[in-house]
Amino acid sequence: MPTSRMRIAIVSTYPPGTGSLNEYAYHFVRFLRQKAEIQEILLLVDELPSGQQYPPVEPPQPGKPATRVMPCWCFDSWRNLWRIWTVLRREKPDIVLFNVQFATFGSKKIAAFLGLLTPIWVHRRGLPTMVLLHNLMDTIDLAGVGLSKTIEPFIRFFGRLMTRLLLTVDLIAVTLPKYVDLLEQKYGAKNVLLIPHGAFEDVPFLAQNQGQESPMIMTFGKFGTYKKVELLIEAFQCLLAEGRTSLELVIAGTDNPNQQGYLASVQQQYAHVPGLHFIGYVPEDKVAALFQHATVVVFPYTSTTGSSGVLHQAGQYGKATVLPNIEDLAEVISEEGYTGKFFTPGDKHSLACAIAELLDNPTERYEIEQQNYLAATGLPIDDMVDWYLFHFRRVIDIRCRKRERSA
C-alpha cells in the first residue's frame, strides 16, 4: 500500500484560460503545491486561443511538488474524452481530480455531455477518480440561463442521466450541504461528500472605503448567460439621475464562453453612460486591488448554478454585497454565513434602492462587510486542500487493497 507522496492529475480550466472555475483551480493548485504529501501535479487544462501560451511552470524546488501544465482538451470539442484519457494513460497518476461543472467541456450539448463522460471512463479504466462538481443540473434554473421550454425536459433528462453516471466514480465532492442531501436522497448516492469552497487569500480586514469620494460599484464574473449587466447599468443610471454623479460602475471580467461578444454589445449599447467602465479580464495579481477599491459588489444574476466564487472573494476582501432574491443564491448565502442587501430580480429600481441604501448607510455597510469577511475567512482553501488529500489517500488505499485482494 503506497504511503509515498502522491502524483495528482487535475482536469480543469486554468488561468490565463478564461473558462469557468479557472480561478478556483488556480488557488487550489497554489495551495496544493505547498503540501508535503504531493510529489507531482499534472494540470490537464484546456488549450488557449492560438498565439497564447500558459506561463512557464516554476522549476521544482526541494520538498515542493513539480507541476506540469498539459493543455490537452478544447472547449466544445467532441474529442476531449479521448485526448484527456491518452494523457492520463501515459502519465498514470495516483489519482485524478476533475474540477468541473455541467458546462465545463462545452456550450454545445453533445460536447458538454461527452466531456463529462471522461471521469466515468477514467474510473472504469482503473484510475482512482474524484470529481469536484460545482453545480447540479437539478438545481439550475434552465429558463434563467436562456433555454427554451421545449428543450428543457431533454436537458433535464440528460442532466439526471449524467448525474447518475458521474456518481459511479470513486468520490464526488460538492460545496453545499444541500447538494449532498439531494444526491443522497434523489439518487441514493453513497459516495458524495461536502468540502466547503474555502477562502482564496488570507487578507486582513480593512474597512477602507468609508467616506470614499467616488464610490465604486463593481461586478465581476463571466457574463452573458445568467449573469447579465443591463439591469445593473440601468440601476446605475437611476442612481446618476438622483444626482449621485461621482459614482462609478466597474464591470470586470469576460464573456461567458457560451456567449461570446455579449459584453462588447452591451458596452456599445451603453457607451453614453458616464462613469461606466468595462475593464475586461483581470489578471490574478490585479484581483485584490480591484476588490479593495470597490465600495459595493453587485451580483446581477438571473439565476445561479451553485456556490459563487465571486461571493467568496467579496467576503475575503470584506465587501458589502447586493444580491438578487432568488432561491438558490439566498440559500447559499445563508448556509455559508454570508449576508447582503437583496433586490427583486428584474427590477432596476429595487436594485438601485439596494445599492443606495448601502452607499448611504456606512454603519450597515460595515456590518455586512464584517459578516462577509468572517464567513469567507473562517475556512481557508489551504485547509480544504488538506481534506482533499485525506480523501485522495483513502481512495488510493482502498484501490490498492482491492488490487492486492484480487491478486
Binding site: A36, P196, G378, L379, M384, D386, R394
Partner: protein
C-alpha cells in the same frame, strides 16, 4: 466552549463541551499546536458534551490530525453525539478520523496494543 485537559496513561485527553465553532476553534487550535511533538503525540478528543460543530471546527480537528500524523502520532475522537456525527458523515471525515465510543475504550485498546507489542518483542 469549555476545554479541560487531562493526561491519562500517556495520552493527552482534551474534553470539550458546548459549541465547537469559529469562535471556539482558536483555543482548540492553540492546544493542538502545543501538544508536545518531541514524543509521539497521542491525542484523544472527547466530544461527549459538544452539541454543535461547524466546518471551522472540523477544519481545526483535521489540521490537528495532520500534525499528529506528521509526527507519527494519532488523534482519536470519542463519544461523538448524533448532531455532530451528522456533520462528520456529511464531509465523510468520519472515514478519515479514528472514532471511538469513549475515552476508556481508546485507552484500553491502546494498552492492549502495547501489551501485544511487548509480548512480540519478548518472543523475539
Amino acid at each position: 466552549m469549555e476545554l479541560v485537559q487531562e493526561c491519562i496513561d500517556g495520552a493527552v485527553v482534551l474534553k470539550l463541551s458546548g459549541r465547537f465553532d469559529a469562535y471556539a476553534a482558536p483555543a482548540v487550535e492553540k492546544f493542538l499546536k502545543h501538544v508536545d511533538n518531541s514524543v509521539t503525540p497521542w491525542v484523544i478528543i472527547d466530544l461527549a458534551h459538544v452539541n454543535f460543530i461547524d466546518s471551522t471546527g472540523l477544519a481545526t480537528l483535521a489540521v490537528g490530525l495532520k500534525r499528529c500524523r506528521e509526527h507519527e502520532g494519532s488523534l482519536v475522537l470519542c463519544a461523538i453525539q448524533q448532531p455532530v456525527r451528522i456533520i462528520f458523515e456529511l464531509t465523510r471525515l468520519d472515514k478519515v478520523f479514528v472514532i471511538r465510543e469513549s475515552v476508556a475504550e481508546v485507552i484500553e485498546s491502546r494498552l492492549l496494543e502495547k501489551v501485544g507489542e511487548s509480548e512480540t518483542h519478548a518472543g523475539i
